[in-house]
Symmetry: C2
Subunit: 305 residues, 2 copies
DNA sequence: ATAATAGTGTCTTTCAGACAGTATAGT
DNA sequence: ACTATACTGTCTGAAAGACACTATTAT
């Protein structure tokens, strides 16, 4: 702020300097602030048949709560934001503490502010979507939470109800979320209600059923999956799930898993042609034609707000 | 939470009920939480020539600060979130208090959490993008702030610097923001830095120059403009700026203003054909062929996460 | 040879861009 | 008749969808 601004006084005749000195930041009750991260990766399934390709699967990192509330249930990694760090710094710090993962792709997702979303006290959560290449994951298992585990994620819509109103339409979608990892199984049903009134859309998410997923994290997971699915179509976001070298078939599999549908090889290759750079590397690991390996093309940027 | 969960004890042998009773939410220092709204509308310029169409312009609502800090500068409408209301409720309440506007389109934009973004104390701001149809605006001027004014908005990129690094590329864009309303003129220059490292993009916004726009609100305004520009291409968001009845030419003008470029009528009409419903109404207000009026088609929904 | 995947050629369909041309009100 | 906008027809070209076809490895 410049000199002139500093000399201005308010209606009470107080300068800015005086005002700030007297300012009581704790006059009103404040909510607590946390970050939560939906961290995804894609891993290869074991495959004995040397002819077949390993199946890929989408996984999300969850942490078993060792304290009330929701003790023994599974929550997204995250925690409270310290007073002297930015929100994003907090997110990266928590991830590092809980899982020892650093320097990965992360984007802010949504800020959850329902009054009763945490039974302890009023807690606002800024959620992040994060992606890692699974080859970087030998590092996992931080000290804070030994109970960090990767879960296979499945989400599917199983019911849709459309109701017409005078000025619009109400669409209710029931989405089933399943998290599973051999030992543990969690699930939730979230109802997404879109109310259209004129051109005004209001979206609302409600947890209808919940089995061992802490807080409102089932909502956050579903929201992050939708964002991921959406962004994969017109950004380079999926490349954050790949290693430095990858084949186009692998890349296609990643797209297919995120989008939940099969793609045609020819069209897919045309689509990603400008996003990759061919290398001289070749992968021959199985009993079929080997594949050329590619790198991401850093010139290709399409970022969306 | 179910009965079983209530009976579980933590490592210290404490049940959830006891834990919550003893929980001290004020153990750590907490940031304050505010909401800020970038509210846009599109208005017609006066036009005396009965032959010509009125020009449309994009406007944003700003409020003159009557208190430190940034006294007498212009800020986005908003304010502190009360402890017993959700963030979105707070946003709608503040808008109602400051401008008497209700029931409009609003979507969460981004949560700003830099440590020093407010000189008073640590303040987190959840920003919203909101749109109103200007015909609803005869209601304006609430009691809280008589100093609410609509500003014409212009943003343009005037410099781009690309630097190649070993593993990627750095792109710096300088964007000039201008707010103007006959009496008042504010401006800012924001530098957007995209750092690409492998496939990991990190975006950063920095205010390089600032003239009478309070806090970091110039960043928020630019971010909301980018979101608006982006979403207008593949959602129905622009319809929130239209009245109930509108001509396709008017709609096209709105798209053109938001996108900052001219569109071809034939292609535009094809594109929006499914999004509108023809009515029997006709507008003949000027000395040229009258236009058919349309309504928004509520069946057309495309929402993006 | 065979199984399985990698990768290409090309026809079709869809959709955006371009632009000329027609339609219709008040002046 | 003229001006300014409203609206349509149709050519073109780019990109996505579909699918058959070729290529290459270990078994």
């Amino acid at each position: 702020m410049d000199e002139v601004a500093n000399m201005k006084v308010n209606k009470a005749g107080v300068t800015e300097e005086e005002f700030l000195r007297e300012y009581d930041g704790d006059k009103y009750k404040k909510p607590s602030l946390t970050v939560d991260m939906a961290l995804f990766t894609i891993t290869n399934e074991e495959e004995k048949n040397r002819r077949r390709l390993p199946e890929k699967e989408l996984q999300i990192l969850m942490i078993k709560r060792g304290e009330h509330p929701y003790i023994d249930q599974w929550a997204l990694p995250g925690g409270f934001v310290d007073i002297e760090e930015s929100i994003e710094e907090a997110a990266r710090r928590e991830l590092k503490e809980e899982t020892n993962i650093e320097n990965i792709y992360m984007e802010q997702l949504y800020t959850w502010g329902e009054v009763d979303r945490d039974p302890r006290t009023r807690v606002i959560s800024v959620s992040y979507l994060a992606l890692v290449d699974s080859s970087k994951l030998n590092v996992v298992a931080g000290d804070d939470a030994a109970d960090a585990k990767w879960f296979f994620v499945k989400a599917n819509e199983y019911k849709e109800v459309k109701t017409s109103t005078e000025k619009g339409i109400i669409i209710e979608k029931y989405i089933n979320l399943e998290l599973e990892n051999g030992e543990d199984y969690c699930s939730a049903v979230v109802k997404e209600t879109k109310t259209l009134n004129g051109a005004v859309i209001i979206s609302n998410y409600e947890i209808v059923e919940n089995n061992c997923i802490a807080f409102d994290h089932s909502k956050i997971i579903l929201y992050s999956l939708m964002r991921l699915r959406n962004k994969v179509e017109y950004t380079n976001i999926a490349f954050n799930l790949m290693g430095e070298y990858f084949s186009l078939s692998e890349l296609q599999q990643v797209y297919e898993i995120i989008l939940g549908k099969e793609l045609l090889p020819a069209a897919f290759r045309r689509k990603v042609a400008d996003m990759v750079i061919e290398t001289k590397e070749i992968r021959k690991e199985a009993a079929h034609r080997p594949s050329k390996l590619y790198n991401f093309n850093p010139e290709w940027i399409k970022n969306v707000y």
